[in-house]
C-alpha cells in the first residue's frame, strides 16, 4: 500500500492561480457566454426589441449561401496561407541552418515580421500593391499583369494571402530552425558520408525528422489563418471586392457591426469558437503524442 501524503490545506495555491482565473473569467468566459446568449436572440437594427429564438440564427446561417461560400473561402485561404508561409519558412530555415557567419543577424532580421501588428502588415502590402502608386503593381505592369485588387477578386485574395503568410513566416521559421538544429550533426554527416547530397539529405533525413514540428505548425497556422487575420483583411480589402476576401472572422465583424445583425454575428462567432476548441483538442491529442518515427 502506498501511503497517501496529506498536505495541510492552505489558501496560498488558490491565491496564486486566482489572477489567471480572473483573467480567463473576465476576458474569455464572460464574453464567450455573452456571445452564446446573444446568438439565441434576434434584435431589430435599432435595439428596440429583442426576441429569444433558440437556434433560429444558426438555421438561418446554414441556409445562407453567402455564409457557406465564406466557409469554403476560409478553408482555401487557410490552406494557402499555411502552405505558403510554412514552405517559405522551411526553405529559409534550411538555408539559415547552414549559415555560420552572420547567423545572428540573418535570424534576427527574419524574426522581425512577427513583431509587426496585423493591420500594419496589411497596410504595408496595400502600399506595395496599390494599383496606381504601388511599386510592385508598377513592376507587374512591365510583365503584362494588370494588377488591381480593388476590382479583381482573385488578385485581392492573393494579396490577402501574401500579407497573412508573410507575417507568419517568422514564427514558422523560428520553429523550423529550432527543429533542424536539434537534429544531431552526426546524423547529417553520416548521410553525407553515405553519399547523399544536400537536397537528398533534406528530403530523406531532415524533413522526416522535423515532421512533428510540421504537424504542430500546420495546426498553429490553420488557427492563425482562421482567427487572427481580421486586421490584415480589414486593412487590405475590407472583405471586398464583392465579398471575394470575406473570410469567416471578417464576416462576423461585417454582419455584426456593419450589417447590425447581432444575433447572426454572435452565432457565427460561436461556430468559430467551436472550431478553435476543436483544433486545440486535435493539437493536444496528437502533438503531445508527436508524430512517431
Amino acid at each position: 500500500m502506498l501511503k497517501r501524503v496529506h498536505f495541510p490545506s492552505s489558501p496560498l495555491p488558490y491565491l496564486l492561480v486566482a489572477p489567471q482565473i480572473a483573467i480567463t473569467l473576465v476576458f474569455f468566459i464572460w464574453p464567450a457566454s455573452q456571445a452564446m446568449y446573444q446568438s439565441f436572440l434576434i434584435e431589430d437594427a435599432f435595439g428596440l426589441s429583442t426576441e429569444f429564438v433558440w437556434f433560429e440564427n444558426y438555421e438561418l446561417l446554414m441556409e445562407d449561401k453567402q455564409y457557406l461560400d465564406s466557409f469554403g473561402r476560409t478553408i482555401f485561404f487557410s490552406a494557402a496561407v499555411a502552405f505558403l508561409s510554412m514552405s517559405l519558412a522551411l526553405v529559409l530555415a534550411g538555408f539559415a541552418d547552414r549559415v555560420i557567419r552572420g547567423a545572428m543577424v540573418y535570424r534576427t532580421l527574419l524574426i522581425w515580421p512577427y513583431a509587426v501588428a496585423p493591420v500594419l502588415a496589411g497596410a504595408l502590402w496595400v502600399f506595395m500593391f496599390n494599383p496606381t502608386l504601388g511599386i510592385i503593381s508598377y513592376a507587374l505592369e512591365f510583365v503584362g499583369v494588370n494588377w488591381n485588387h480593388y476590382l479583381n477578386g482573385e488578385q485581392a485574395m492573393a494579396l490577402v494571402i501574401f500579407a497573412a503568410a508573410w507575417k507568419q513566416i517568422a514564427y514558422n521559421f523560428l520553429f523550423y530552425l529550432a527543429a533542424m538544429q536539434s537534429i544531431p550533426r552526426s546524423v547529417i554527416e553520416a548521410a553525407a558520408i553515405d553519399g547523399a547530397g544536400p537536397m537528398r539529405r533534406f528530403i530523406t533525413i531532415v524533413f522526416p525528422l522535423i515532421a512533428p514540428t510540421t504537424f504542430f505548425l500546420l495546426v498553429i497556422n490553420a488557427v492563425y489563418a482562421f482567427f487572427d487575420t481580421f486586421g490584415i483583411v480589414h486593412a487590405v480589402t475590407q472583405g471586398g471586392p464583392a465579398n471575394a476576401t470575406t473570410i469567416l472572422v471578417y464576416k462576423v465583424y461585417n454582419d455584426g457591426f456593419v450589417g447590425l445583425d447581432l444575433g447572426g454575428s454572435a452565432a457565427q462567432s460561436v461556430i468559430l469558437m467551436a472550431l478553435v476548441i476543436g483544433m486545440t483538442v486535435v493539437q493536444f491529442r496528437f502533438v503531445e503524442r508527436k508524430v512517431q518515427y
Partner: protein, 349 residues
C-alpha cells in the same frame, strides 16, 4: 582497399593552429589507432580524412587520389560515429541500405548485402526494428553494419565504444578487431583509451596538443617511448618519473641512490621506470614508503613516496601481496627498463 598518406597536414581555425604538420603513411589493410587525451586534435584529424573538416594545408591521399577537396561521398569511406548517428526514422534495414540506395544498387543486391552484413554482426532478427528499440550494443552493431555493407576502401571509427559499458566494450573491441582482419579494410580508429589503442592497433599514432608524439607499433611505443608524454600515456598504471642527474649513464636519484641506464649520457634528465618493471630488492635504489595498496588479484599495486621525500611512486607486484602500510620496501629495476628523457621531454638513447 587502399593506402592512406598524410603529408604535412595542418588544420587551423581562424588563427589557432590545432594540428601541426602531421605526417603518416598507412599501409593497405592496416588498423591504425590515433590516440591522445581529449582536445589533442585526434577527432579533427579523422574528420579531415572523412571530408567533414576542410584541410588548411598539406595533403591527404587515399590510394593514389588526393582527396583534399573531394566531398565525403566521393572518398569511398565509411564512418562509425561515437553516438552511432543512426537515422532514427528508419528501420535497421533501411539504415544499412541507405547508402546503397543512393548509389543505385539493384534491390536484390541491396537485400543480399544487408542480410549478409546482418548475419556477420548477428543482428538479422532486428532488421525491421527502429534504432530506439535497440540497446546500445545493438545500435553499435547497426552502425558497424551500415559501414560494412558499403564495402568502402577505408573505415573510420570515432570513439565508437565510449558509450558502452565496460564489459560490452571489451567484447565489441575484440569483434571490431576480428571483423577488420577478416575484411582487410584499411581502418583509422580514434580513441582516448590507451588500452583500446594497444589491443586494436597494428600501429598507433599518439597525438598531443596537435603534434604527433610517436607513430609505431604498440610494443615499440611501450618499450621505447619517444617522449615523456608517450611514456606516461601508454601503460597502466603510468610510468614513474624522477628528476635525476646523469653521469656517464648512471643516474643519481633525489634520494641520493644511483641507478644505471643503458646510455652513456651525462647531464640533467628525467628518469622513467614502469611499475611492472620494478622488482623487490632489499638493497635496491628505489626505497618506497608504502602509503596504500591496491590488490587487483592478478597483481598488487604499491603506492607510496620515495623514502624521506615527496616524489610519488607506484610499483606493481605479481599476485596478491600483503604489505603493511608505512613500512619501507626496496625495489630495483634492470638497466634496460630505465628510460631517460632530456629537458625537452625527448628520449635519450
Amino acid at each position: 582497399m587502399a593506402t592512406i598518406t598524410l603529408t604535412d597536414l595542418v588544420k587551423s581555425y581562424d588563427d589557432t593552429q590545432v594540428l601541426h604538420h602531421v605526417e603518416g603513411a598507412f599501409e593497405d589493410g592496416e588498423f591504425i589507432v590515433i590516440v591522445g587525451p581529449s582536445g589533442c586534435g585526434k577527432s579533427t584529424l579523422l574528420r579531415m580524412v572523412a571530408g567533414l573538416e576542410s584541410v588548411t594545408s598539406g595533403e591527404i591521399r587515399i590510394g593514389d587520389r588526393v582527396v583534399n577537396d573531394l566531398e565525403p561521398a566521393d572518398r569511398d569511406i565509411a564512418m562509425v560515429f561515437q553516438n552511432y548517428a543512426l537515422y532514427p526514422h528508419m528501420s535497421v534495414f533501411d539504415n544499412m541500405a541507405y547508402g546503397l540506395k543512393i548509389r543505385r544498387i539493384p534491390k536484390d543486391e541491396i537485400r543480399k548485402r544487408v542480410e549478409d552484413a546482418a548475419d556477420i554482426l548477428e543482428i538479422r532478427d532486428y532488421l525491421q526494428r527502429r534504432p530506439r528499440q535497440l540497446s546500445g550494443g545493438q545500435r553499435q552493431r547497426v552502425a558497424m553494419g551500415r559501414a560494412i555493407v558499403r564495402d568502402p576502401q577505408v573505415f573510420l571509427f570515432d570513439e565508437p565504444l565510449s558509450n558502452l559499458d565496460a564489459k560490452l566494450r571489451v567484447q565489441m573491441r575484440l569483434e571490431i578487431r576480428k571483423l577488420q582482419k577478416r575484411l582487410g579494410v584499411t581502418s583509422i580508429y580514434v580513441t582516448h583509451d590507451q588500452v583500446e589503442a594497444m589491443t586494436l592497433g597494428d600501429r598507433l599514432m599518439v597525438l598531443n596538443g596537435g603534434y604527433v608524439e610517436q607513430f609505431g607499433a604498440p610494443t615499440e611505443l611501450y618499450e621505447r617511448p619517444a617522449s615523456i608524454f608517450v611514456a606516461g600515456f601508454i601503460g597502466s598504471p603510468s610510468m614513474n618519473f624522477f628528476e635525476v642527474t646523469v653521469a656517464e649513464g648512471v643516474a643519481t636519484l633525489p634520494s641520493g641512490a644511483k641507478m644505471s641506464s643503458s646510455t652513456t649520457y651525462s647531464g640533467k634528465a628525467t628518469l622513467g621506470v614502469r611499475p611492472e618493471h620494478m622488482s623487490p630488492a632489499p638493497d635496491g635504489p628505489l626505497k618506497i614508503e608504502v602509503g596504500m595498496l591496491e590488490q587487483l588479484g592478478a597483481n598488487t599495486l604499491v603506492h607510496g613516496v620515495l623514502e624521506g621525500r615527496s616524489e610519488e611512486i607506484v610499483a606493481s607486484l605479481p599476485g596478491l601481496e600483503h604489505i603493511n602500510v608505512r613500512t619501507t620496501l626496496g625495489f630495483d629495476a634492470p638497466s634496460e627498463s630505465i628510460h631517460l628523457f632530456d629537458e625537452t621531454g625527448v628520449r635519450i638513447d
